[in-house]
Amino acid sequence: MHPIARLRRTARVGTLAARLWAHYKLPEYWRKLLGRPEPDEATKRRRHEIAASWILACALEMRGVIIKMCQAIATRADVFPPEFVEELKKCHDAVPAKPFEVVRAAVESELGKPLGALFAEFSERPIASASLAQVHAARLLSGEEVAVKVQYPDIEDIVRTDLRNMERACRIYERFDPQPLELLPLLRELTTHIGMELDMRREAQSADRVRALFADDPRVWIPRVHHGLSTTRVMVMERVSGMKVTDKAALEAAGLDPADVVQDLMRVYVRMILAAGFFQADPHPGNLMVTREGRLIVLDFGLSKELPDGYGLGLFELMFSMMTMNESAMIRAFIELGFETKTGDRNTFMLIARRMLSRSRTGTFEGEFTEEMTDELFEAIREDPVVRVPSDFVLVGRVFSFLSGIAHTLGSRANVLSAMGAGPPG
């Protein structure tokens, strides 16, 4: 990466940080100086919306880690205000693609041959583009249709620069804010995840692992990776096609019941997370498709997570105790999973448990793990900053949040008890 470009990125991030600081702090100083009352909720919301829109604009312009950071913020409803979460969700599918010549050079450099010597066809327009890589359709010389995922050149350098800049910005922010949001732990988590995503060999192995898990399940399709044509920066895999998992009209037109799709989705993730302790941690709708026969396709194993031994059982206990309205079991599960309070007071967990259970108006959840429950958990934690959420749980919570969002879009609800093997009741 050219030093000027590096300097430009640093300056852009620095400017944004300064602008955000002024946006939040100057009105506060002014208010205190004039002895005015606290701003009302609508003013606070508006302030958050403006700040989030600046961050989004910067992320789309600079890409790299800043996009990733925004995606991470969008999943942390437990830490950030809803206005940030809503605005920064847009980072999931608004990343502009790199020109084809850049992609061609990257593939040829990685695989050591001209494109024509490797592929019979290679589409110039990408199928998808994300923060670290983009995907092109291609055909091998054997005739097999494949998808080629290509990491952006210089991305590692960009990532390093961004992480350094962001760490500096976070440290300055923490020095000036008497009650700072805990951004540095989030950044460290992000650094770990990006490290995983930048290694496509790891991604290929993760895909293999999940494919093996579902080898006995004809309703799940994990695309096969061509290891001979894959490196740490390029990955060639079987090309699959299907309907977007959230396209209800297309699913129904194909004679599929969206409720079955939702249940399959829940079953697949419950099996990965609770049973195998290893899961694809990025189930946003762009990574999930459904074939006309109803097979669920899971894509993109860049962010895959291995859970500690026994964590699946702990998660099961938490979800099951919620489903069965058992507060004391919920509290034990919170502790088992590594939730902590700064004071060590268990009553905090009791309050959170009661809040979550209060989401049921009828005294039962009918096996449904709903987005409202996830929202309630994260909201309760955000409002009670004495609680520390274990990072393993954050990714799991994010997955279930995505899944419940998909279920909501399809107008259906997954029965998590049934997905765990308990049902279905009549």
Binding site: L274, A275, G310, T324, N326, E327, A329, G423, P425
Partner: protein
Amino acid sequence: MTTAVQPFDSSRLTFSEAEILDSGAYDTLLIAGGVRCHGGFDANGAYRSPRTVHRGPAVAAWQARLAREGSELLEIPRALMPPQYPNVAQAKLLLKNGVRDPIVRTLTIISIVEGFGAVIRDVRVPKLGELVVEPLEGTALDHLGRGLFEAHARDEAGWREEGGHKQMWEAARDLALEKPKIPADVMARMMGRTGRRGAAPERPFPMLDETLERMLAMLAQVLVVEVFAEGTFDWGVRLLSDPEVSAAPKEAGDMVRNIRSDESPHVEYLRTALSEVRARTLRTVDGKTIAGRTVVDALLHRVLHAVTRDRPRDQREDVRSSLSEAMQAAPNPAALLEQFDALEASFTPPERTGFEPLAA
């Protein structure tokens, strides 16, 4: 202060949901391993199951009504009950030789399966008054969705601050085996069992309202599971109260005994409800009728036929799939396996279930 179970009054047949769910007060609460469980003890130290102040007398009254009307109370033959694998002698052998994982796994799976019983609260109860020819007032059937299912669910999985059978089995396990490490593959095995279930079977009675058919099938399934759980309780009591292998023989054994006594109301209300259907006539969706007995017997036959064959096979496969690996903890794994196999008792599923459709 202790609340006494209501004296038996066979003339009272209708109860409110609150009454069915009423546990009353206990002299002493049941707390095991730091976990507050349901149920408790009276002034004499006798254990009283939860939610039985009115539920017990209610079931007895519905059964008495059946008898008065000349209808029989159905009975699942205990002879059909498949044995637990590994049996008590095999389980003791493993524990004495330091091979704990298979037993810890089995006890954990039992606790989870017990907890899964809570899904019964989500069973949809159709408008029975429209689907059954004869009146239903003052029957167990009339109370399924008005307390009986909910009480059953709470008994199995706990409720609010109380643990249920799931937590009680865990407590028994932790007391007897001193908080053992739970094998990491428990959930994988649970879900593996689910995977073997395959596609949903065809509806045996498509002429019935689907919700009614599903509910009756569920009642038959749960009744058989509950009756056959007697074998599991017997296994649990004998194993966990044996001082040779249990660190807390009295407490752990008593815990399983308490669970066993809680299960009795489940078996009784389920067989009462199914017997009531058996004594009645069901309306079909095309305006005809079918004898309840035909439906109930066919459903019970199907469940019994499958369970007596599948359960012993599944349990055996589950345990044996990792037995060799688990036995590596023992000094002489090969000799231990030989001893273990020598203790196995054979089980041949009986030819007949007693509910054969032709017998109807």
